[in-house]
Symmetry: C2
Subunit: 90 residues, 2 copies
């Protein structure tokens, strides 16, 4: 996979309103699947699937905490910077 394809895939992963919103939420701190589910008002399976796509693309990672699985941004500064640029009033 070329660098261009890697970057495109990363952008594509973020380029879905639910996944982008998940990323926004994770800027505020790590969340378990159930919290993502209830915060975004989506189904459990759907939350899990979107988190999986973010994980595959290196946007999030997770750790187990008891019977919860906590997802967090792998590079929170990077995501913040991207959003700053994307949503900066220019």
């Amino acid at each position: 996979m070329s660098r261009n394809e890697m970057t495109a895939s990363y952008l594509k992963a973020l380029g879905h309103p639910v996944r982008l919103m998940i990323a926004r939420e994770l800027i505020r701190g790590q969340k378990c699947v159930g919290e993502v589910e209830s915060t975004l008002h989506i189904r459990q399976a759907n939350a899990s699937q979107h988190l999986s796509i973010l994980k595959i693309n290196g946007i999030v990672d997770c750790i187990r905490k008891g019977n919860l699985k906590c997802y967090f941004l792998k590079e929170p500064k990077k995501i913040e910077q991207l959003l700053d640029i994307l949503e900066r009033y220019q």
Copy 2:
């Protein structure tokens, strides 16, 4: 359309290898459809379609020059900054 949806749509438009490559090429300067076609080795219709998606999402704009249509990045600095962040070694 919410800000989140707008941003997601923008990311989605860039999140295709051909369109991302078009954006890269346009950093170097404006190009007409035929140049995009030959540079990326894609069909004329396909180039036109991808450029249309980039235009709808406010990533490029175009001006007619004689019988050519020249496409250019609306916010080249923004695209450069995005790529810098995305592809920076961290």
